[in-house]
């Protein structure tokens, strides 16, 4: 029942956001997101306590992995909604456009929440496509030439990937039928995988990996990602980069138990190749960015690579590390984009070269950017460091020295890239052209504070229930 409420809330909020009262849309959005968060915490608690929640067998089932992804989406949904409240009113938009923003925001949240709870692969494909469609108008919300270009590339490339993935899902269905399977769900696929014709299974997996990988931002299909994730309003960037990519990656991860059940399918090899390619290319691209929002977008490509590589390592510790990384990435990356939004409000530019001495122009934005840079690059004692370290340990324990060595090297390159740019912006002499500081809205400050606390807190201590949820999720990646 909880799950139905979870999906119904954002839809109701989207409908209510159309009402023409001032300040009503943000209030209703925040209320609905808070309720969704409370609900998903409750669902996660139950899943940890008493196993998967079956709402409609063969259609809606929530297990450990789904509950983890739900929790991440719900959490960033709340913080981004609070941040939107202050951020969007600081930018003087027409009331009608602002309502449109919140309607789309709620629909986007709905489409993301639907990904982990559905278990019928073609329905999952549909909601993945819906995430693109619901967020397209959010990406071009600023209505500049660049934002429209970014939204156009985002829509065309994501939908092109989706069409390729659709072919993959249809071939997967044929593979299941050839193996005599009847129920087209993730579990049904795993059950019949050992009898599937290998060529069908492999073709389907590759088509889905490439198709949905386009939306995750895997290299070489990542070209649209820095554009869309930098041109959207900052709270939307936090959602796109922090959780949307993870939610789509989750769909690819669901195929791993299926492929592991079929001998000789080599899913891990593909994950390692795509993971290392994304990680490596993004790490070097981080060195030469000129726009700090693009920098954080490339860092998302890097982190998606890390997660996929960890899954490719294949051991259960590595799977645990992969999900841990997804958790810390969602928190740290959403913080980074909130900080980037604060910098944009304080300086009015996205260019790294025209910001110097930020710590004196706006101490809060400067400190936030420095904190975000350190946290996302993986400096201790922040949460990302711990999750990256757990993947490193798992890699060594599994004997994957080459992959683990490249992982460390690329993370180090990415670290240097991020910190080099952040350092240049935060310190140094103030440029003459920088505009005088603007007071940051209270809700933005609150969100920055809360997320920062969590990013630091999880770096020092991982609560037991969260640990168990990660364990359950990692178990779902095994066959």
């Amino acid at each position: 029942m909880n799950v139905i409420v979870l999906l119904g809330l954002p839809l109701a909020a989207a409908a209510l956001s159309c009402l023409p009262w001032r300040r009503f849309a943000p209030a209703v959005t925040i209320a609905s997101c808070l309720a969704v968060l409370a609900d998903s915490v409750d669902i996660a608690r139950r899943v940890v306590g008493s196993g998967p929640a079956v709402v409609a067998p063969n259609w809606i089932v929530v297990d450990g992995l789904s509950a983890l992804v739900l929790l991440l989406i719900a959490f960033v949904g709340v913080t981004a909604a609070f941040f939107s409240w202050g951020y969007m009113s600081a930018e003087a938009h027409a009331p009608k456009r602002l309502r449109l923003y919140y309607v789309n925001y709620n629909l986007f949240i709905f489409s993301m929440l639907a990904i982990p709870v559905l278990v019928e692969p073609t329905l999952v494909w549909i909601v993945v496509e819906l995430t693109t469609l619901c967020s397209a108008l959010l990406v071009c919300f600023e209505d500049t030439r660049e934002a429209l270009e970014a939204a156009w590339k985002y829509v065309v490339l994501s939908l092109m990937g989706a069409a390729v993935a659709l072919l993959g899902f249809l071939i997967l269905f044929a593979a299941m039928q050839a193996a005599g399977g009847e129920i087209y769900t993730w579990a049904g696929l795993t059950a019949s995988a050992s009898k599937m014709p290998l060529i069908l299974l492999q073709t389907a997996f590759l088509l889905i990996l490439v198709g949905l990988g386009t939306k995750v931002g895997l290299v070489p299909m990542h070209t649209w990602l820095p554009d869309a994730h930098s041109q959207a309003p900052s709270p939307v960037c936090a959602l796109l980069s922090g959780v949307e990519t993870t939610a789509v990656l989750y769909v690819i991860l669901r195929l791993f138990p299926v492929l592991k059940a079929a001998p000789g399918a080599h899913a891990e090899a593909w994950a390692t190749v795509f993971g290392l390619a994304s990680l490596g290319v993004a790490a070097f691209l981080l060195l030469q960015v000129r726009d700090y929002k693009r920098m954080f977008a490339f860092s998302t490509v890097e982190h998606m690579g890390i997660i996929l590589l960890a899954v490719g390592l294949g051991t259960s510790e590595a799977h645990y590390g992969a999900l841990y990384q997804a958790l810390t990435h969602a928190l740290a990356k959403s913080f980074c984009f909130f900080a980037a939004g604060a910098v944009l409000l304080a300086t009015g530019t996205r260019e790294i070269a025209s910001i110097r001495g930020l710590i004196r122009i706006s101490p809060i934005a400067g400190a936030g950017l420095l904190f975000g840079g350190l946290a996302i690059a993986g400096a201790p004692p922040f949460a990302v460091f711990l999750s990256e370290f757990s993947i490193f340990k798992a890699g060594l324990a599994g004997g994957h020295y080459l992959a683990t060595g490249s992982l460390v090297l690329f993370i180090a390159v990415g670290f240097i890239g991020v910190l080099f740019h952040v350092n240049r912006m935060v310190f140094g002499e103030i440029h003459a052209g920088n505009r005088p500081q603007l007071r940051l809205p209270a809700s933005c400050l609150a969100v920055l504070g809360i997320t920062a606390l969590l990013v630091t807190g999880l770096g020092l201590y991982l609560p037991e229930p969260l640990h168990q949820l990660l364990r359950l999720g990692a178990a779902a990646l095994e066959r």
Partner: protein, 238 residues
């Protein structure tokens, strides 16, 4: 319901004919210069998809495939042009692409090699399975997806790009009516509704681009790059 035995021998050749015409329409969508012509070819392609679903429905006596045919006949030739008329500016229909990225003979060669690749891949899939995937639907469907993707890489005008996306989906379906003919009709309906939302959102985007930039040649947009050649970028907030 069994098909009358008198038509049975004609079903396979007729289906192959529909498949051939479907592939031809895919080529046409990639090559036609006139935006309006592209739309008409897409409608023809969707009708051929419906015909193929109907013929296979007769062959396997499957109500589900009749449903697919019906959904296609209603959604694509009727609803999609209707949504397009309401969202995109009328100018896009009259646009012609004089300068394509590649000239037509080279384009044709590339599209042909993609089709050959698709037949090779389709053959592999058919060999690897004991299921009855025979007939030409699977390779032609895969070719439809490939040529649609190729269309997206060479086109610059908004409407042909959108049609390329929809043609890719048509291709996936053309293979899908054989690959997954027992899939619940609900899923099929949901995918079609989703296709309508694609057209609506893309239409709204095309309209926004036209209003803001004054062109529908969206493929020529190239402000966002890593290295800007010494040109100051427009600020986010003026």
């Amino acid at each position: 319901m069994d098909a009358p035995h008198a038509i049975l021998p004609f079903l396979d050749p007729l289906n192959t004919l529909a498949g051939g015409l479907f592939l031809l329409a895919a080529f046409g969508i990639a090559m036609t210069r006139q935006a309006k012509g592209c739309l008409n070819l897409f409608i023809a392609q969707s009708l051929l998809l419906a015909v193929s679903a109907l013929l296979l429905g007769l062959k396997y006596a499957s109500w589900h495939l009749y449903g697919v045919a019906l959904v296609n006949v209603i959604a694509k030739p009727v609803l999609i042009p209707w949504i397009l008329r309401r969202t995109v500016p009328g100018e896009v229909y009259t646009r012609r692409e004089i300068e394509q990225v590649l000239n037509i003979p080279i384009s044709l060669l590339i599209a042909l090699s993609l089709a050959i690749l698709a037949f090779f891949l389709g053959g592999l899939l058919q060999e690897g399975t004991a299921l009855e995937l025979h007939g030409s639907n699977v390779p032609i469907g895969i070719a439809g997806v490939f040529i649609g993707a190729y269309t997206l890489t060479v086109r610059r005008e908004a409407l042909p790009l959108l049609i390329g996306l929809l043609a890719m989906e048509n291709g996936a379906f053309f293979a899908g009516i054989v690959l997954a003919r027992k899939m619940p009709l609900l899923v099929e309906l949901a995918i079609c509704t989703d296709g309508l939302i694609v057209v609506f959102i893309t239409g709204v985007l095309i309209r926004a681009v036209h209003r803001r930039i004054g062109t529908t040649g969206v493929g020529t947009l190239s402000e966002l790059k890593e290295h800007l050649p010494g040109r100051p970028r427009e600020e986010a907030r003026q």
